[in-house]
Symmetry: C2
Subunit: 226 residues, 2 copies
């Protein structure tokens, strides 16, 4: 099967922060076989955490990952970057079309990854970090909601091999990070979720994922895909 | 100009929770001129807050708004529902295409509304609710980040009349709620943001917005668009 080959004119730069959501964009480019430049930033210790270096704010006021440059255009926000690359440079590959029966599933997981899941997990991290009373109503409710979201993920992966259905899509690229690299910040016990664990092992076998995670974890300062 | 008229076969039900993100979906349907049924749910007092009633969990395990039914398919997540309706039933109206110069802007704001902005504001609400030390590093950093996001919104609306650029799009439908109805839960001072305030006044004049907010705030149990 021929690979989607863009014109050599395009040059997307991924401003990659180590251990961050921008690994999704490296992975996406590798799955699509698109060329890109990888600029690597290391986290710096600030206030008990590890934050993006101040140099990233020179690229975009948000100053954190993910960000890409496409010529003069700088775009932030994981979901936006994924949609942008797929529909502008990837001929829609890895997406699901509006007439497909699983269009709703695809869109749901694509947006849920950041719109709900990451937001909820980071809220739990925040309560931990400030040493909030774990028995307070908001803390208990947050834990209950998050368990419900994890159960929903597990149920989905019991029903289908990938989030959107039978095929690997960009919804998977959005959904994996919270269960893998984010775990370095605060591990969540995945033992109660065997379908999720089996799914993550399948994902880990994908050549594009392997290559992308090696690059995302490395210290190369610049790289162009073959 | 002819309105997009779907076949009468379609019947989307919006499961609308009062004072919630689902007002976006009513607004979207009114802007597109698409028929829908509106099922209205009132919030109930729980643990010092006002939550969705338990009956909503019978429709979808998340048990909260927004949710739509499209025949047997139930979809949650604001951004997913907006994409679904626009591309499945709206002929792409209110979206921006991949070849348009403002495609990146459109996608950014569409995803940023929930992926970052709502998530960040709700984190600040959470710290308030649990009575966290406002001088702690995480609380201070959160306030700084949120000011930066509001400044970024203000700068955008100084540069363009709508979030995606010259035209009103679905990015606006995603971006308005945090500055309007969400303010009922905890008011954020919008005085430092004159461009944002002027924008909200322009939005408030849109016939579809007026009609949608009246319906979203009312107590009708069922409604079909003309």
């Amino acid at each position: 099967m021929p690979r989607v080959q863009p014109s050599r004119g395009i040059m997307i730069t991924i401003h990659h922060l180590h251990d961050s959501r921008s690994e999704r964009i490296i992975w996406l480019m590798e799955e699509l076989g698109l060329p890109y430049q990888l600029d690597f930033y290391h986290r710096v210790p600030v206030g008990g955490g590890r934050l993006a270096p101040e140099t990233m704010a020179k690229i975009h006021p948000f100053g954190t990952a993910p960000m890409i440059s496409d010529g003069p255009v700088v775009i932030a926000e994981s979901g936006a970057i994924v949609d942008y690359v797929i529909h502008k440079y990837g001929n829609g590959k890895l997406s699901v079309g509006p007439q497909a029966p699983n269009y709703g599933e695809y869109l749901f997981w694509l947006h849920f990854a950041e719109g709900t899941l990451m937001s909820q997990i980071l809220r739990e991290f925040l309560l931990d970090r400030i040493g909030a009373d774990a028995q307070s109503f908001p803390a208990q409710r947050l834990r209950q909601r998050n368990k419900m979201y994890f159960d929903y993920v597990e149920a989905r992966l019991a029903a289908a091999p990938y989030f959107a259905g039978a095929e690997f899509t960009a919804a998977d690229i959005m959904m994996v990070f919270p269960f893998t690299t984010l775990q370095k910040f605060k591990a969540i016990d995945l033992a109660p979720y065997p379908k999720l664990r089996a799914y993550l092992l399948r994902i880990a076998e994908r050549p594009a994922y392997k290559k992308a995670m090696k690059l995302a974890d490395g210290d190369a300062t610049s790289k162009e895909a073959s």
